[in-house]
């Protein structure tokens, strides 16, 4: 679940060379991430979210030849997702009201369990040192920027990034091993 940009890009490059195992892993990860991406933007209409996840996965598949191997995979794939979302809004005659550029959250593994997951994250967060807890709440839950959080806590931006990164890593292993998160 914590696949980084370079992991995903490596999977994508292997996929373009015909590695079906890598491709499966990539699509699995993207399926989860796209659920979160669309879930955040579509007021939790599950059928709509499912549709868009499917649309985007298919577009990733049919247009995979447009991926430049030196490009960022996340930039490429979320640009497709955003394109599909805008298309969806255009077709349904709505205008997007949420910013389209925030990064996918690493937290929620299954959007059907959104509320429980949030509760579990609160529990998981409590296993971290208080300072790290506060930073993660600021940045990932309240969606402050790194710079804003750094200013609020009187830390350097780099220190914030490092602390958040370590915290998320711990949180991830906590969720995977311990907590009763699905």
């Amino acid at each position: 679940m914590q696949a980084s940009e370079s992991d995903l890009r490596a999977l994508m490059i292997a996929s373009l060379d015909g590695d079906a195992v890598a491709y499966r892993a990539l699509l699995d990860t993207m399926q989860t991430r796209l659920r979160i991406f669309f879930g955040k933007r579509l007021s939790r209409d599950t059928a709509e979210v499912d549709d868009l996840v499917q649309e985007t996965l298919i577009a990733i598949h049919t247009r995979r030849g447009t991926f430049d191997r030196s490009q960022m995979f996340t930039a490429w794939s979320y640009a497709i997702a955003r394109h599909k979302l805008v298309d969806h809004f255009r077709r349904s005659g709505r205008k997007p009201t949420v910013p389209l550029d925030d990064a996918p959250s690493l937290f929620v593994e299954d959007e059907s369990a959104g509320v429980e997951a949030r509760y579990d994250i609160e529990k998981a967060l409590e296993s971290l040192p208080p300072a790290t807890q506060a930073l993660i709440r600021d940045i990932k839950l309240r969606e402050l920027s790194n710079a804003e959080a750094a200013q609020a806590r009187g830390m350097s931006e780099t220190a914030v990034k490092v602390a958040v990164h370590r915290g998320l890593k711990k949180l991830g292993s906590y969720l995977r091993s311990g907590g009763d998160v699905k």
Partner: protein, 229 residues
């Protein structure tokens, strides 16, 4: 249902070439260029003095100028055909031929007698030149639109302008094989206008013309549906 989608898609995986985007654009543009050249030969004809003109500086300048626009815009199209990438870095290179030809035109105008300047700019075909370029730009532009719709541009106006300019450059290159105008001011004014008009046309209609062709997705969906039942 989305559970199976990963299985179906990964069962459908075939290796993809590094040149996928370039090849598709090339096929689209190439088909259009052949059609456009045929149109030129049938309706306008090669300039009668083509053998004589071939070595002349001005003939070569016209061909080089228009070819430069076509190639630079084509290279930019290869960027903007991909999600999240922009062709701006590459398209900026068109200022090189543009400034060079404008400079030569300025020198020629400065050297001409006051009475000679207007004819130098207007030539004998100023009123038809941009229109014919625009006409000959349509087939390569259409080919590039076809190519783009199967790729994945996410900046549709920019992509439209870029393929418009590439089509305009190709159309102008073909038209220059017919046109007998021999001055840099004419080239700088009317050829540039024709190519620019094609780019503007692309910019204007990009968001409509370059909507992704859904037939590829449709095919995959059908396979998904079959896997489901």
């Amino acid at each position: 249902m989305t559970g199976d989608i990963v299985a179906v898609l990964s069962a459908d995986l075939a290796p993809v070439s590094h040149w996928y985007v370039a090849r598709r654009l090339f096929i689209g543009a190439g088909t259009g260029i052949i059609l456009s050249a045929t149109l030129m030969l049938v309706f306008f004809g090669l300039r009668p003095d083509i053998h004589h003109a071939m070595g002349a500086g001005m003939f070569m300048t016209k061909q080089a100028y228009t070819l430069a626009f076509a190639i630079i815009a084509g290279l930019a199209a290869e960027r903007v055909a991909r999600p999240a990438t922009s062709g701006r870095g590459r398209i900026a290179w068109v200022f090189v031929p543009l400034l060079l030809v404008t400079a030569v035109a300025t020198v020629q105008l400065a050297r001409a007698t006051p009475h000679g300047r207007i004819p130098m700019v207007m030539g004998e075909s100023a009123s038809v030149c941009p229109w014919r370029i625009l006409l000959l730009a349509i087939p390569p532009l259409a080919g590039l639109v076809w190519a783009m719709r199967g790729l994945a541009p996410t900046r549709l106006r920019e992509a439209g302008a870029v393929v418009g300019l590439a089509g305009g450059g190709a159309g102008a290159f073909i038209y220059a094989l017919h046109c007998t105008e021999n001055t840099a001011p004419f080239l700088a004014a009317w050829y540039t206008l024709g190519m620019g008009a094609s780019a503007f046309f692309g910019w204007l209609f990009g968001p409509v013309l370059l909507r992704w062709d859904g037939s590829y997705e449709q095919e995959t969906k059908q396979r998904l549906f079959m896997a489901d039942s």
